[in-house]
Symmetry: C2
Subunit: 424 residues, 2 copies
Amino acid sequence: MISEGTIKKARHSSMLLSMATNEHKNAALKRIIESLEKNSTLIIDANKKDMEAADASQLAMALRKRLSFDEQKLSDVITGIRMLIQLDDPSGKILSATSLDTDLVLRKVSCPFGLIGVIFESRPDALVQIACLCLKSGNAVLLKGGSEAANTNRILKQCIESATASFAAGWIQLLESRDDVNEMLKMDKYIDLIIPRGSNEFVRYIMNNTSIPVLGHADGVCHVYIDAAADQAMALAISCDSKCQYVAVCNAAETILVHSAVAPVFLVALKAELDRLNVIIHGCKETCRILSVPFSSEPDWRTEYLDYKVSVKVVNSLNEAIEHINTYGSGHTDCIVTNDEQAAAQFMNHVDSANVFHNASTRFSDGYRYGLGAEVGISTNKVHARGPVGLEGLVTYKWKLTGNGNLVADYAQGKRTFKHKKIS
Amino acid sequence: MISEGTIKKARHSSMLLSMATNEHKNAALKRIIESLEKNSTLIIDANKKDMEAADASQLAMALRKRLSFDEQKLSDVITGIRMLIQLDDPSGKILSATSLDTDLVLRKVSCPFGLIGVIFESRPDALVQIACLCLKSGNAVLLKGGSEAANTNRILKQCIESATASFAAGWIQLLESRDDVNEMLKMDKYIDLIIPRGSNEFVRYIMNNTSIPVLGHADGVCHVYIDAAADQAMALAISCDSKCQYVAVCNAAETILVHSAVAPVFLVALKAELDRLNVIIHGCKETCRILSVPFSSEPDWRTEYLDYKVSVKVVNSLNEAIEHINTYGSGHTDCIVTNDEQAAAQFMNHVDSANVFHNASTRFSDGYRYGLGAEVGISTNKVHARGPVGLEGLVTYKWKLTGNGNLVADYAQGKRTFKHKKIS
C-alpha cells in the first residue's frame, strides 16, 4: 500500500516544481521524450504482457483497443508532448495587478495546486498525457491507472521518473490498488485536487468519499434542438454527427428535440438517415404518432445511452426545449440548430450547460478541438473549471502583496488613503 | 418552512436576471437605494425591536454592536451600493475567443451561477450588501441571516423586493429558521453555490451536509514571520498592526515567527510593545528562555485566538518558517518582514496560502482594501475563488460555439482542418 511518507515526499517535491521555470519544465519534457524513445522496445514488450493477460481474461474488444500501446500510440503521445512544450506556462501569470497605494502593490498570480491525484481508465497513453500536463503546470501527481495496464503503466512511469529524477525526485507516484485509492482519498492534508475519470458511478463514488475537491464530470446527456427556423439539411447532418460520429463518448448526443412546426417532415427524414446508421429511435408520444418507433418514457430523457440509440421528443417552443434540457440534461453540451439569431442567443444564454453550441455538432466539445492543447477531462462542475479542462484547470492563484511596512491602522485613521490604481 | 416551490421560483427568476444588461441592473440598484431611503424610519424602528429583544436576552455587547442598524449604517450601505453601481458587470465578459475554423468561433464567456444560498451572521447590513452583489452579478439569492435580526432583515428584504419586483419577481428569498437551512442544503437540483459565513464549526457543518459546492473559509490562523534581514522597527509595527488593529477578525495574526538571529533583541522589544497593548504572548521553549511568558505547546500553533493573545515561536531558518506555516496555518494570509528580496520571493512562492505578503500587515487581506468593491467572504479554498471574493467570485463561465453546420466527421476524415486562431 502507498505510504503517507511517499505522499508527503510527492507533496514536498511539488514545492520544487512550483519554482521551476518554463525552460526547465520544457527541458524535462524533452528528456521524457528521449526516455520514451530509448525504451520503446521495453514499453511495447510490457504492453504485450498486459495484452496477453487481457486475451486470457477475454477482455472486450473495445477495452483491448484502449489498452494497446504500440509504436503508433507511442508516436502519438510524443507528438502530444511536443505540442505541450509549445504552450505557454500556465503558472506564474500575473492575472491582475493593482497599486493599492504608492508603495503597496497587489498582484494576483496563477500558481500550481501542489499535489494532484488522478484516477484514469485503461489507456496507458493517458498516464503519459496526464503526467506531462501536471509537470508543465508545476504540479506533483499521484496516478492510478487501470489494473489491466499494470505492466505498461509501471514502465511508462519509470521512464518519466528516470528522465526527471534530477529535476524533482518523487514528483510522480503510481498507485496500484483500490486500497491505495482509498488511502489517497483520506490525505486531504497533502492532496489539493482529485481528478477521477471513468464511469459516472465511479466518479460519484469518489465525490462521496473524500473531502478533497474533485474535478470530475458526472455524465453527458447532450441534446440537439432542431428549431422551427432550422435549415433542415444542416439539422439532419448535425443530428447524425452528434449521435454517431463516435457513440461511446460523453459529448455524443443522447436526445434530439424537434420543434412541432417542423416535426412532421423532419422526423421522417431523420428516421430514414438513422435507420441507415443503425440507430434506434425512442420516441415521445408525438414522435410515435409520426413514426413507427418504440415509445420512450421519462427515464429515457435522463439516460446516457453511449450506444446506437437516441431519444426523440417533439416540443412546442424554444422555451420548452430549454426547460427540457435544464431539467433532464447533465449540463455538459447542448446544441441549437436554427437560422434565427435571437433564438440562438436565448438558447445559449438560458441553457445552463458548460458548452452551448449554435449550428455545430456536440462532438466539438473537447480540449483538443477547442485548441487547449490536451485535456485532463471535461468538467460539468460550475466552480473552478467548466467544460474541457486543459492546463489552465491545473492551476489556481494566490494574491501577492508587496509593501514597505504598510499598516492598516494608518488607513483606518485617515493618515493614508487607498489609490486602487489598476496596473496593466 | 421554505417550500420547494419558492426555491424553484427563485431559480426561474435567475434566468431573467442572467439576461439583464448592466444598465438594467444598475437601475434596479438605484431603485433599491430609493426604497431604503424612503423607508428609513420603518427600517430603524424594526431594528429597535430587535435591539430591545437583544437587551432582554442580554446579548453580548460585541453582538449588539453588529446587530444595530442606525442612520449611519444605512448611509454606509447606500454608499456601498453606489460604489457597486460604478463597477463593471462581471457577467457577459468574453474571457477568450478562438476561431477554430473560418466558420467556427469559440467564446469563453462569464455568466452568473444561477441561484446562490448565503448564510450570514447577525449584521443586517450584510443582507443588503450580499443581495446587491448577487443582483449585480445576475444571480438570484436565498438569504439566511441571524435570528436576532429577524425584524430588521424582514423589512430590508421587503424594501429590496418591492424595488425590484417588476425587474425579476422572486429573485430574493428570506429563510427564517434552521429547518429552512437544512431544506436548502438538500436542494442541489436548484442551487448552484452555498456561501456560509460564521464560525469555523458552522462552516464545516455546512460543508459536511450538502453536495452543493460551498465557498467558505474555514479559519484564519495567520502568521507574521520576522526574517533575519528584517527592519526591526518595521517588523514591530507590522506585528502589532497585524495582531491588534482589530483582533476579532480572520485576517488578524495569531502567530509571530522570529528568526533566531534577531530573536534576543526583537523579542524584548516586541514584549514591551505587546504589554502596552495588553496582548499576552504564548511562547515556544526558546521564547520562554528570552522572555518571561506562558509556555505554548503545539495546539496553540493551530489556534485562532481572535483575542489579545499571540503565539510566538523562534525558528532557525526561512525554510523552518515556511514549513511551520504550511503545517499549522490555515492557508489564509501570511506575511514576511525582510529586506532580502530573495527571501521574500521564496516565502511568497512556497507558503501555500491564499494571500502572501511582503512587508505589509496581514490586515490588508480584505475585498475593500484589495479594491474589489465589496466582498462576499474570504475563501481558503484553492478551487474557484481564493482569498477575498468580490463580484468575480459570483460568476462562472460557459463555452459558446457558433458554427455553420460544422461536423466533427469532416475534421476526423481530414476534409477540413482546425485553425485555432486566437481572436483578441
